[in-house]
Amino acid sequence: MAHVDLGSTPLIASMQKIGLALIGVGAIGLGAAYALHGQERFFADYLLGFWYFAGISVTMVFFSALQYLARAGWSASIRRIAENFTGFVPYIGIALIPIVINMLGHHSIYEWSHESAASDPILIKKAAYLNPTFFIVRLGLYALLWIGMVKYIVGNSVKQDTAGSDITPTKRNWKRSAPWVLVFAITITFASFDLLMSLEPHWFSTIWGVYAFAGHFAASLAIITLTLIALYKRGLMKQYITLEHFHDLGKLMFAFSVFWTYIAFSQYFIIWYANLPEETIYFDVRTSNGWELFGLLLVLFHFVLPFILLLRQDVKRKMAVLTVAAIVILISHFIDLVWIIMPAVSKVVGGTHMSANMMFGWSEFTGVVFFAGVFLFLAAKNYQKRSAVAVNDPLLNESLEYSS
């Protein structure tokens, strides 16, 4: 089948322009944050934006790998949307450099890298894991493995476009997607330990990796849905998109916002009930000085609203409702990361171990805006390079004919 070239459509052109504009605005904003708020807060904002979109782009590769692993037919015609959003993955290593520089400096947002950590009885025990050298090695390893995953999974998917009826590239993905999913599970877990959990190095939670994954997956589904709606509304890819796709994405968004809730509740509930001070400190800090508002908003945006919006069968086929639900999920992911990162950094900057001052304002949007720009710009580039539909996918027909 003929390639679907959307590279020169107004939609992709504006995606690229918006991307560039956001990069500009975000960069200026980040600069202003550095100048006005000091470097700790700048790096916190940077980390917030970075992890929001780095996590989503890596999860987009996982989405594609998962489709291959499950031999999913339904998603064959829309899978490329996720694959195109992995454009940022090869640059994750570069984007991590500022975080590494910050960690090596004197005002690191990572308390365990401070000199004072050497006299902290708990941090001494963790020094074999939480030390700058090993931290950098690990981050480098994640970045490399993620590039490998994109090159393999997305690479084979794209190769299939030109391979005609020879389905070797697809078969490779069927065979190798399982080990890549395993790599994803391990790297996303430890990356979330390293980048987020270690912001409060005394605190620990075994479910943390699942929690991080759940949030990224829900947000990734929201972005795929929004893009699909944008393409559909403009009549692009029209013969490849059916209402069934929207229905299924609606179901998945519903399922994974509830899954996130389940994981978040498990973590909160177990810690709250046992009431051990070394664990409750995480929620203590986040339910005082105004942070409780973010916690409540999180319940509303990550659970209540998506649940009510997406519960009914018919609404999953209505673009307007799906759009609202997807935006709600994207906002909730932002609230989630703010709630995780900002109190932790606020403790390092001016608070104590027991409390964190409110630290939220315009600058918390700068990192997200910057990386949203990078994310969109690089995705648009992918649309210019390759077909927007995996046109030779052996399961494409199934994707066009199925009913959900």
């Binding site: 620990f204 479910i207 509830v258 009431n275 052996p394």
Partner: protein, 477 residues
């Protein structure tokens, strides 16, 4: 071009291209065939096991749970291990019937009926264990919140009370779901069997099913709603069971990953049990046409995936125990792997994490003797997982003065054997008198039953309805 590909990548789910009538005849013939001596002997054997277990239960109840090997500090032993084990077994059935239904996984149709039956029987075994563990099971209604003259209420803050709600909900919904799914098939049997008595019995239980479009319409709505209700149950029941451990503050029990880790383990063990029994069933009842290698392959993949999730949890627990910097946490895990119960820990680890690794290979996933052996390994491993969790945390209390070791007595072992007897007896009865395969559902996946394949997307999302008339004529008249 792509149509050709389609043939290459999708294996048929029913072999031999049977007609609708063939499907009915094949499954119903199991019910119609004469009861063989072999069947009776097997049934006698499992019933004896059950009887032996019931005797041990009787002995326990009349004497007191002092006849068990429990001691101070080990207040939970095989009783709770078996309870969690059996509750876990049920989860495969619920996953297959509810979640795979919502995901429109057509391969579920061959295995959902028997897996759901196992769910119900496993929950019965679990209830047996947990009731006998209360010590005075005749006062079971004290576990339920009801207005009473003593003004006594259950402690709503106790995870043990949540367990009562979770498990009872689970049992009720699973039984309803199973029975609703059975209705059209029972009607088919009613029309098929020859003896008048059998006709009356199947007729009674099929609630006068006529197979009209109206009946099917209501049926599909009910089935969908029950699938929706059952889906959160897959996650919630074992999460609540995990709360029995996590909400306390004991090292080794109190860790946040427990809920999803228990759920993954439950699905893992459930699939292993379904595999063990289905491999035998498929051989004896000659169901190879319906339960194909493709089905077994898929199930083995799920076992590999859930086995890896369980392995992920084992390793993360260890890592975080060290990372926490808590001496209690680190010590309990070192003790788990190298202490008195190291043998149990490594049995668990080998069976659950190492043995399923063979399923990375497609040839292993289709090797029936091998998958049978691995499924038994997993059954054993998952039992030991619960035992390890319970015993290793309890046997060394915070004070060395209250350290102990626990071994079961013959009574506990007999009760455990008895639960297997109950489970297998019920399963044997099920396999003989109830359609082991969902006849109507299998018909809906036969080639030609899916209108969506013939013309494009017509946005009618009720494809199953379109298959209904063909099925209804068979089931109804």
């Amino acid at each position: 071009m792509t149509a050709q590909h389609h043939e290459q990548v999708r294996e048929p789910l029913v072999l031999g291209n049977p007609s609708l009538r063939d499907v009915t005849a094949r499954i119903a013939s199991i019910v119609e065939s004469k009861i063989s001596m072999k069947y009776l002997l097997t049934l006698g054997f499992t019933a004896t096991m059950a009887g032996w277990g019931l005797f041990a239960l009787y002995y326990t109840i009349t004497t007191g749970i002092g006849v068990w090997g429990l001691n101070n500090p080990i207040g939970w032993g095989w009783d709770i291990t078996n309870f969690v084990f059996w509750i876990g077994i049920g989860h495969a059935g619920t996953l297959i019937s509810a979640i795979l239904f919502l995901f429109r996984q057509k391969w579920r149709t061959a295995i959902n009926r028997s897996a759901e039956a196992m769910t119900i029987f496993a929950v019965i075994c679990a209830l047996t264990m947990v009731l006998s563990h209360t010590g005075r099971p005749w006062l079971f209604y004290w576990l339920l919140p009801y207005p009473n003259q003593m003004q006594m209420w259950v402690n709503f803050r106790s995870p043990l009370a949540w367990d009562v709600f979770a498990v009872n909900t689970y049992f009720t919904v699973s039984a309803l779901f199973w029975f609703v799914g059975l209705l059209p098939d029972l009607a088919t049997l009613r029309n098929y069997v020859k003896s008048d008595l059998a006709k009356k019995i199947y007729g009674f239980f099929s609630f006068g099913w006529t197979g009209s479009t109206r009946s099917w319409h209501h049926y599909e709505i009910a089935y969908m709603i029950l699938a929706g209700i059952s889906t959160p149950l897959v996650l919630s029941v074992h999460s609540v069971v995990s709360f029995d451990f996590t909400v306390g503050i004991l090292p080794g029990w109190h860790t946040t990953i427990f809920p999803p880790y228990f759920v993954a383990g439950a699905i893992f063990s459930g699939f292993a049990m379904v595999m063990t029994l289905l491999v035998i069933c498929r051989e004896i009842l000659d169901l190879k046409q319906f339960i194909t290698l493709k089905h077994l392959d898929n199930m083995n993949k799920i076992m590999l995936a859930t086995g890896m999730m369980v392995g992920y949890a084992y390793i993360l627990e260890f890592f975080i125990a060290w990372y926490s910097g808590s001496d209690w946490e680190s010590w309990i895990f070192i003790n788990r792997a190298f202490g008195d119960y190291a043998w149990a820990y490594w049995t668990m680890f080998t069976c659950n994490v190492v043995s399923p690794q063979v399923f990375w290979f497609a040839s292993a996933r289709r090797n029936i003797p091998l998958m049978f052996i691995i499924s038994i390994f997993i059954n054993i491993g998952m039992w030991f997982e619960r035992f390890t969790i319970i015993a290793t945390t309890l046997h060394h209390d915070f004070l060395p003065a209250s350290w102990g070791y626990y071994s079961p007595t013959w009574v506990e072992i007999s009760i455990f054997i008895g639960t297997f007897g109950i489970f297998l007896t019920l399963f044997l009865l099920f396999a003989k008198f109830v359609p082991v395969i969902a006849i109507a559902e299998v018909k809906s996946i036969l080639p030609g039953a899916q209108p969506a394949h013939h013309h494009g997307h017509d946005h009618d999302h009720d494809s199953a309805h379109a298959a209904v008339p063909a099925v209804a004529t068979e089931g109804g008249h």
